[in-house]
C-alpha cells in the first residue's frame, strides 16, 4: 500500500489525532501563558526574581522530554495529566522571558505619565505595561507552540492523546505492513499542523497588535 493510499484510507483517524494534538498543544499554551504572564508580572520589578524565574524555566528545557514524561508517570499516572504538565512546563520559558523583557522595556516617561494622570497600579499594568508587552508575549507563545508540537508527539509514551500514537506504534512495529506509513503520516501531520498554527499566530499578531507599536 503506497503512502497516499494509506493516508486516504486512514484520513478519519488522522484528522481525529491531528485535532487532538493541536487542541492539546493550544490548551497547554493558553495555560502556560496564564502561568507565564503571572510569573512575569510577579518578578519583573526585581532583577533577582527575574533571574531566578528565567533560570528555573530554562532548567526545565534541559531535561529531556522523554525523561520528564517518564518521571511524571509514577506521580500523575498515565494519560492527559502528565502530558499537560510536561507541555506546560516546556512552554513556560519563552513566555516568561518575553513577558519580563516586554514589561521592563516600557519607557520610564510613559509609566510616569500614566501614574501622573491618575491611573492606579492595576490599570498601569493592564492598559499600559501588558498592552505594550503583548507583541512580545505573543511571540513567546508562538515559539512555545512550535516547540510543543514536537514534544507533544512524545506524550504518546505516557498514553496521552495526539499524533504521537501513530508515530510510536509505527516505529514499534517497523517491518510489518503499513508501519512506516503510519510513522510517516504522524510525523508529517505534526509538521503540517505546526506550520498551520504558526500562520494562525502571525494573523493573531496582526489583528491584536496596535499599529502604534507594530515593528
Amino acid at each position: 500500500m503506497s503512502f497516499l493510499d494509506y493516508v486516504a484510507s486512514r484520513w478519519q483517524q488522522l484528522l481525529v489525532d491531528s485535532y487532538q494534538h493541536a487542541s492539546m498543544v493550544l490548551q497547554c499554551i493558553v495555560l502556560a501563558t496564564i502561568v507565564g504572564v503571572l510569573v512575569g508580572v510577579a518578578v519583573y520589578r526585581s532583577p533577582a526574581g527575574a533571574a531566578v524565574a528565567t533560570a528555573l524555566s530554562s532548567a526545565v528545557l534541559t531535561v529531556p522530554s522523554f525523561a520528564l514524561f517518564g518521571l511524571l508517570i509514577p506521580v500523575l499516572g498515565l494519560g492527559v495529566a502528565p502530558s499537560v504538565v510536561t507541555l506546560v512546563l516546556y512552554a513556560l520559558l519563552p513566555i516568561i522571558r518575553n513577558t519580563i523583557v516586554g514589561l521592563s522595556t516600557v519607557d520610564q516617561p510613559v509609566l510616569d505619565a500614566a501614574r501622573g494622570i491618575g491611573m492606579n497600579r492595576f490599570r498601569v499594568l493592564t492598559r499600559i505595561e501588558l498592552a505594550m508587552a503583548w507583541p512580545g508575549i505573543l511571540a513567546g507563545m508562538r515559539v512555545s507552540t512550535q516547540m510543543l508540537m514536537g514534544i507533544a508527539a512524545i506524550a504518546a509514551y505516557a498514553k496521552g492523546p495526539g499524533l504521537g500514537n501513530m508515530i510510536f506504534s509505527g516505529l514499534s512495529g517497523l517491518g510489518s505492513a503499513n508501519a512506516l506509513n503510519m510513522a510517516l503520516a504522524g510525523t508529517l501531520g505534526v509538521i503540517i499542523l505546526a506550520l498551520l498554527l504558526d500562520g494562525v499566530f502571525v494573523l493573531l499578531g496582526r489583528l491584536t497588535t496596535s499599529r502604534g507599536i507594530r515593528g
Binding site: 519607557d107 516617561p109 505619565a113 500614566a114 501614574r115 494622570i117 491611573m119 499600559i128 502604534g212
Partner: protein
C-alpha cells in the same frame, strides 16, 4: 470624585485655578544623609504660573512631584485649594491635576485621541462627551482633530507630541497643571513656539501652573513668578521675573540669572509701558524753512516728516530741512518703526540700527505717536533697579499683594 472633596468642577472651570500651599515640606530618602528637599514653604497663588528653576539635582522636580504625590513628602503639609492632598486618594488627586512631562510620555500603543481622552474616561465621562472634549483639546493646542485624532504618537514630530501631551494634561479641565521641563526635548525654534502657545492658552484658561525648568530664560518668559532653587530645593529667591532680574537676592541667584540680566529685563517691558519722547514734526507739503526753524539749532536735534495720515516718512535735521525745496526730499527715509506692543528689546534693536539712535513708535494704523531713544531705555532700566532695590530692603524680597513668603 464626589468623595474627593475637591471643589466641584462647575466651581472651578470658569478660568481660575486654585491656590497651592507648601508648608515646611521635606523629602528624605532612607539611607541618605541629606534631605532631597528640605523644609520648603511657598504659596502659589491661584491662576498664576510659577516656575521652579534651579540647577540639576536641586530637587525642583522632586518638589513638584510631591504636589501630586508621585513622591510622598516625608513631612510637611501641601494643600491645593485648601484641601490637604495627603488626605486624598492619590489616584483621584492626580486626575484633578494636569501633568505634562519632558518627552511627553504619550502611550505609544494608543492613538492621539485615546491618549487625550484617557483622563476623561478615567473620571467616568461618557464616550460622547469624551470624544467632543478630545476634539476641542486638539483644536486648542493647534492640531486639526480630523487629521490627528487617529494617528499614533510615533507618527508625530517631537513638537506635536508635546502638544498632545499638553492636551492630555488639560483634557479633564484640572484647576492645576504641573509641567516638568515639558519643552526640554524639542529644538529651540519649536520650543519658542510652544512657549508662546502656552502663554496664549494660560491667558484664556487661568490655571495654576507649576512649571519646572533649568532654563532661566524660559522661566523669565513664562513665569508670573519665579522660585530660584538651590541645593535641597532651598528657595533662594521667590519673586517676579522683573524683581529677580533687577535685584538678585545673592550671588548664587545672580550667577544663575547669568550675564545680560538687563537685556533680559528688556524682553519683559513693552513700549506702551514707558513714557515716549516727542520730536518736531511736519506734514510733507509744509514749508521746509518752517520745519528748519522748529527743529532749532540744538545739537543732534532732528525732526520727522509725516504724510497726510500722520505716518512717518523721513528723518531730517535742521540743516537738511533748510537745504531742500520740499520736505519730501529732506534727510533720509524712516526705515524701521516699533509698535506700543513691541518689547523694549525690539525697540533697542531699532535704536541701535538707526543712524541717529532714535526709534519711531507708530500706532495700529501706522501713525506717529512718539519716539524712543537710548536715554528712555536706560531710564527705564534704572528705575526698575531702583524700584526693586527699595523693595528688597523693605520686606525680604517679595513683591505684589499677598505674595508668598520665601523660606530662606
Amino acid at each position: 470624585m464626589a468623595d474627593n472633596n475637591m471643589p466641584a468642577p462647575e466651581d472651578r472651570t470658569n478660568g481660575h485655578g486654585v491656590e497651592i500651599r507648601l508648608e515646611e515640606v521635606s523629602k528624605r530618602y532612607p539611607g541618605q544623609k541629606l534631605a532631597a528637599v528640605e523644609s520648603v514653604s511657598m504659596t502659589i497663588p491661584a491662576g498664576e504660573t510659577v516656575v521652579l528653576v534651579g540647577p540639576s539635582g536641586s530637587g525642583k522636580t522632586t518638589t513638584m512631584r510631591m504636589i501630586n504625590r508621585l513622591i510622598e513628602p516625608t513631612s510637611g503639609r501641601i494643600t491645593i485649594g485648601g484641601q490637604d492632598v495627603l488626605n486624598l486618594d492619590p489616584d483621584k488627586l492626580r486626575r484633578e491635576i494636569g501633568y505634562s512631562i519632558q518627552q511627553a510620555g504619550l502611550f505609544p500603543h494608543m492613538t492621539v485621541g485615546e491618549n487625550v481622552g484617557m483622563v476623561p474616561s478615567l473620571v467616568g465621562w461618557s464616550k460622547q462627551r469624551t470624544t467632543e472634549r478630545v476634539d476641542e483639546m486638539l483644536d486648542l493646542v493647534g492640531l486639526d482633530p480630523a487629521e490627528y485624532r487617529k494617528r499614533y504618537p510615533r507618527q508625530l514630530s517631537g513638537g506635536q507630541q508635546q502638544r498632545v501631551g499638553v492636551a492630555r494634561a488639560l483634557a479633564a479641565d484640572p484647576p492645576v497643571l504641573l509641567m516638568d521641563e515639558p519643552f526640554g526635548a524639542v529644538d529651540p525654534i519649536t520650543r519658542g513656539v510652544l512657549q508662546d502657545e502656552l502663554m496664549r492658552l494660560q491667558a484664556d484658561l487661568g490655571k495654576t501652573i507649576v512649571f519646572v525648568t533649568h532654563d532661566f530664560d524660559e522661566a523669565v518668559k513664562l513665569g508670573d513668578r519665579i522660585a530660584v532653587l538651590g541645593e535641597r530645593s532651598k528657595i533662594l529667591q521667590y519673586d517676579t521675573p522683573d524683581a529677580i532680574l533687577a535685584n538678585p537676592a545673592d550671588d548664587t541667584v545672580a550667577g544663575f540669572v547669568g550675564a545680560g540680566a538687563a537685556l533680559k529685563q528688556l524682553t519683559l517691558r513693552r513700549v506702551r509701558e514707558i513714557e515716549l519722547g516727542q520730536v518736531q514734526t511736519a506734514v510733507v507739503d509744509e514749508d521746509p524753512g518752517a520745519m528748519r526753524d522748529r527743529i532749532g539749532t540744538r545739537r543732534g536735534a532732528i525732526g520727522l516728516v509725516l504724510d497726510h495720515r500722520k505716518r512717518p516718512l523721513r528723518w531730517t535735521t535742521a540743516r537738511e530741512a533748510g537745504a531742500v525745496s520740499s520736505l519730501a526730499q529732506a534727510g533720509r527715509p524712516v526705515e524701521d518703526s516699533v509698535s506700543p506692543a513691541s518689547t523694549l528689546q525690539d525697540a533697542l534693536e531699532a535704536i541701535l540700527t538707526d543712524d541717529d539712535g532714535v526709534a519711531v513708535v507708530t500706532g495700529s494704523r501706522g501713525e506717529y505717536i512718539g519716539v524712543v531713544d537710548i536715554d528712555t531705555v536706560m531710564t527705564t532700566i534704572k528705575s526698575l533697579r531702583e524700584e526693586y532695590a527699595d523693595d528688597s530692603n523693605g520686606d525680604s524680597g517679595s513683591t505684589g499683594p499677598d505674595s508668598a513668603e520665601a523660606s530662606s
